[in-house]
Symmetry: D3
């Protein structure tokens, strides 16, 4: 490839002590602004010697708990509370955040399906590339805060990918315990229903050896106060744990329950277009054969709705949020308790 | 005006005994179908002599509780259970329903701002005109089932406009008591935050002397099971009450609480773009000066979020559902107990 | 209404002898041209004393036989061949013609559903208003050339609305015989499948007492050479017949067959989305119960396709042209022989 | 019509002394905000007894000199400097202003072609209706500040419509002299190239008997400092003249030159698509036969460009600004000196 | 590249005997469905031991004869009629099929210009990649059924690319004879007018050593019954020939005529925008200098239309179907008899 | 990569003496034209033996001075005036030129951010690839004419990239002197505000060893006559200088001033959305702390506008042209005198 250095730049100096708020400037030459930039807010808080934590939200623009938690943290955290560096990117795919969308309105890019990105690609690919080649390499730990977004309601949880060595794996499991989400996942291969595989931030971070936690904190286009709180407490505990903010006051961690994704065959997909009336809640225990919901046929109001039944037993990990549903939409994924 | 007779037609014969499911055919001549129709499902159940009830949902396409309740009713109700006629229009603005939108994708029309409609107007105006000139004139009572839709979370309630005479008003209040929603409103003039005034179905029905109830049954793009149940039970009670289905088994009505909209000055509008973190729930009692929520500035993550406080005391009637908010969005309307 | 005089103007002088080619200038103030116009070509050929014929094509932009016939006529006809005036508007809804669409890309307007139009309305309504208030009132006869367009294949025919008096009716029937299409229709009220009613050019011309013929000359987005030829010969015969061009060489007329639209109940509409495989040709005689076609389900390739059967006997007047079909599309209309 | 009272409301009290900044709230019920408003900024400055001046800019969203001048005025003017009332609407078609467009992105409405508007129409029509039925009736004088916008470069001028009586006419001419633009127009009937006729603010104001000046202050999507200055000085002089701000410091007026639009036949329209290379400047004197510009054919680079020549003598009133031009665009209008 | 394994998956087991109908699930994470899939129907019919035939239609979504033929085949063919395996993909670029478009509405992708595809690319690229890396490698023969689609009318024909060895070439020629289209082509390098080169399914199949036939079966947005029939008979003959369905009843093959594309210089392109009136039919023999058609100028109705003449002699292979034409559109390609 | 030979072809023979006007045919297979082409005009003028000059405009479609200059040159220059070859591509990104846009409406491609392009990419990438692999390799010199376009007003200047050797550098500096723009730049690495880096035509030309000049000739969506003239004179002088047209009459060159881009830190970006009122002109000398302009807040008309001040001293190289501005837009870049 011809260009491998990011064209994104910032006046912010990551090596300087203090708290600095500035922008990543992503050159975006358009009809209406030939020399225009997409300005992505970034905050760097640094003091003394210590590890670097990279905190990201707005990877998908329609997931709000993490965005609020990181804006609160960026506002409140002071350099003198830390030893090391905290880099906060509260709205990573900034155009998607401004548009309340999962994907960017500029290039239809889904940031978490765009890693490791490209220096000469679309804006979304350039953001992925900057995170992969600039931010992650400076980091000792990364937390990427997701939620269910517009289309999913999600159990509150934290997720790791399996460590590449047994030692790394134990370290990641410990991070999950410290973060203290009600549910913790070890996501082997392709995750729940997302199937992002190697194109996610987490996958790239893993290949770079940066321990990384992602989360799911709520969903449905709105804000879950419990999700915001979990993000704030979990991050605080992790910053203490890795020694960046050893004296920060924080909530005691609660126990977490380790779960496994119950497998692709336990997911339920819509086999027709229609109005989805769900019959189970996120987190609920369900049994094979239980009613999962009904799909009503808009064109044929007196036709018996399609009854959907669970094909396996388990607990509901996530559920489609909006009622109107198209063939192919994922309606449920299930999870199962596991021992780690 | 040149044409005042509806161009919408249907093979369905409203005068025939039995249950018939067919379509309103709205001629819609487009590039892709010169002689095409929009087919709007309609069900007519008729038997013996008795009054006519017109049941409508999908006036706004993104409001689901009523649509599900009416599809269930249309499927289950048999002619021999009734004396009279039940006309069911479960997806009145059909193109909006298919698109999961409040307004029609065909003409951007908001059906409940398009009454009394026009025979030669846009498809949405033609639907309003058909309801105004064909369906309402055949009806002795009308129920128009709304919910909060994508953008609002709404207290479960039923609503009337004030009767034009004291007698009519008492009859309408009695209908509210029979319907049995937890909350009942008498909406004078312009309603809550909607301001539809004379352009709503209810306003036209009132001018025609057809007693009409509307509802709000949930919101937020998803289905509220309690809202579906309320619609089903409330309609059943009304059908019994007016003598169409005197022997239908039905749930006892619960008491209803009469409320008034607390006035335009008690509503809270967003004065900036941002992420809205609400601090009060629908139905909750709030006091002047209480925190209503915060608006976070995406462009300036470390700027103190704008604190929004209630300007009056009351109870929350509805609340904005999605987090991303633009200047001018209504965030809350309040209601106050009243004596009828 | 405030403004009733057309804002459309033209430098062309309709009272001057000779052949003049110019534009109707429709003021269209847009972002890209505050004082811009839509320029609609118009040709006026005038000589001596005699009646005025108004010849129109491009009422729908995707119907080509009439457009070609009128461009040929406007190019070839010389003033000295006529006594009277021939006004040619070969692309009446000019923006629709440029876009190869039935409706205008500027305002989504279907010109033949926009009569009598409005002086202050959308561009399509302004064109309808100009034809209604300026061109038709100068005319002694009007011919409005249609075809099936993108979505229909149509039997070659000419159409009148019933005369308002018996004398007028006989005059119109004679015009049909002179025009000499293979099939001639008397369209009472709402026409075949179009249902334009009072909003068509023909309806307005009738109310103004201008004898008017419309045609259908082919269809399917392409040009039918036989349709072009019929338009050229038919117009020549009519110009001779009414004395404008008594000496013009022309083809002898063939006999025409008078037909009636077989009624709304004989039309076939698609009751599902799918791929339409037709089983009968335009003009073909069909019998009740005959196979009309099949609808294949794209989502369920092994599901038996829906068989569509004719519900009445008759001959095929028009048939849907494109394969992909949506619920509500008209697939066939039928016609029946009649005595006039 | 059913509804004639505006649905637009504002917390601002026009009768209260002081300076108040608030919003017109235009209910705009959309998919993303069922109870949402378009918030149009409005400023009211009132003190003691005296006449009311209504100052408007942003009638077209892409015209900036007036918007800046009114924001400056609204910021600087204090109640104690005036006797009477100054109502400032600096961005009348607010959605168009936010979008840098002549017309509204919400409904494609051109506000100055939408008067007198409609209480139940599109947002643009509702704004026109509010100005026509609420703001103009409170006003003793109105100034509506326009410029050439994106597509035109315009001579700096002020414009009146002819008074309905000789006395009214003299009063309006005196206002033009006081305003003191380099050029002053009396616009009979249809104005320069715009042809707005009865659908403009000025036409409605005239029918209500409110003396009204409009202006053209620059053009081409950018800001003319001289245009901003003219607006500020002209308004100040008018406010002094009518007694609202008798002591306000202001620039002496310069003499104005009275001109007439040279007539539709002197305008030059593009007769082909192409790149327009102009040969005359705004304000320049030109003679019949002079080169006006060239149109280059993009598809045929070696084809001789079309030479455009002036068809009459006069001075250039306005000229198309952007190079790329479509058939029908107005390239020039001319003006001629006149005696008033 | 990071990810080379397809993210498309299916519950269908290609190794199991019987007939199974299921979907390819292509993960497509969007605003409206974070874990959504595009579900592409696939049918697998397997029995005993024998070769595998891959049958594809809907490579371009607007080409219908192949889609209908494969749905009929998939419905009718039973496992006990075969020895081996028949994999049927009747709507390969499923989103394009649903939209009646050549290219996908999801990513504007033209599937037959997207080979060999990409595991991490757009949905269209992912489909190409799945066919290239999963389906073709399991196949002993492939048939990819095309037609002219919306924009072309095509002679009925079958096409191969030249074999890589003389033996392979003879085998492919024999397949053409067995398939039995009226016309057979050997397409060296870039095909007729399409110029897809190495980016087509056929090119990739060739590089994998899978003998492949493509077809053209009609065109113009509608269904050609003769094209459907040819596809059904041709496929049946091929399945018999290669031993998968030796006892299937089938039509005798007719002789085929071998033709060569007459070369780029014999094609006719539109040199102006206009309405295209063609003068020759598909399959017709034409001579250098013959009239090919006329282009009418919409803006200048009395301008002499541009006459297009054939530049070489030959027979018409395909012809533009729609009338409205833009500069650069291919109007005709020619073919010439050849000896194989 | 699989395909590295361009799929763009042309009937034009670059090796033939004479002047030939033809098209590059870029195969663009779309819904509306399966075998369609984008036809990009190209002119080749050749005579005797001598070097080849490649002259390009319309790299960005909204930059007009170069397009006009090259159309004039292509029309006027005759083969007998030259020894060698002049290849003229006056509208390189042809779809962008037709749309008056910087980027292509077909694929949103910015041609000067798409080099070296791709043979199988989007149309814009295919054009870049054709220039990189076909046109530049035939050329001894290239001139790529830019202007500020819609969004920038630019000082008239010519630009080189530094030579790869001292000798090459001297040759390029001499070309700048010969071209004779008022200002000359040596653009190291990333240019002014554009940041195109390795993805520009100039960068690829440099890597191929083709001496290349680019220009900026005006801006703001309109034509600068002085810019057209500079292009015409500068090109004539260069053609004389390199011996292609030694006897062409031409204007004497004026002296040029060598400048350096003042660095990223001297640029001014908008830190808020608003209306930009500039305070300095292109070419003007400014000092640190001088007022650069004001940003007015549309939503808050009485809020004090944001004052923007220059952060360094220098001269204005370019300035944002349109008033309405979004956060991230570049408002000014500065330049400084330099010694070469």
């Amino acid at each position: 490839m011809i260009a491998s250095q990011s064209r994104i730049w910032t006046p912010l100096d990551f090596e300087r002590d203090g708290k600095f708020v500035d922008y990543l400037r992503l050159p975006h030459s358009t009809d209406r602004s030939a020399y225009g930039c997409i300005q992505i807010p970034i905050v760097c808080i640094k003091n003394a010697i210590g590890p670097t934590a990279l905190l990201i939200a707005g990877n998908h623009g329609d997931e709000y708990e993490g965005q609020i938690a990181l804006m609160n943290l960026a506002r409140r955290l002071t350099p003198r509370e830390i030893s090391g560096r905290v880099i906060v990117l509260p709205s990573a795919n900034f155009p998607a955040v401004k548009a309340a969308r999962r994907v960017s309105p500029v290039d239809a890019g889904n940031l978490n399906r765009s890693f490791p990105g490209s220096a000469t690609g679309t804006p979304t690919e350039m953001i992925a590339h900057y995170i992969s080649t600039v931010l992650l390499p400076m980091s000792d730990i990364a937390i990427d805060l997701h939620s269910g977004g517009l289309s999913l309601d999600y159990v509150r949880c934290a997720i790791i990918r399996p460590g590449r060595t047994s030692e790394e794996h134990q370290e990641l499991l410990e991070l999950l315990r410290v973060f203290g989400a009600p549910i913790s996942f070890v996501d082997s291969s392709q995750g729940g229903g997302g199937g992002g595989g190697a194109t996610t931030l987490n996958a790239v971070a893993r290949s770079l050896g940066v321990p990384t936690i992602t989360t799911e904190l709520g969903g449905g286009a709105t804000v879950s106060p419990a999700g915001v709180q979990l993000a704030e407490h979990g991050i605080t505990r992790v910053l203490k744990h890795i020694g960046i903010a050893p004296n920060l006051a924080g909530e005691e961690r609660a126990g977490t329950e380790f779960m496994d994704y119950a497998g692709r065959d336990s997911s339920i997909y819509a086999d027709a277009d229609g109005i989805f009336e769900p019959a189970a809640l996120v987190g609920q225990e369900v049994f094979e054969g239980d009613l999962a919901g009904r799909l009503y046929y808009i064109d044929d109001p007196t036709r018996e709705p399609m009854e959907l039944r669970f094909r396996k037993s388990g607990r509901v990990e996530c559920r489609r949020f909006p009622s109107l549903t198209a063939r192919g939409d994922c309606l449920y994924t299930l999870m199962l308790p596991t021992v780690v």
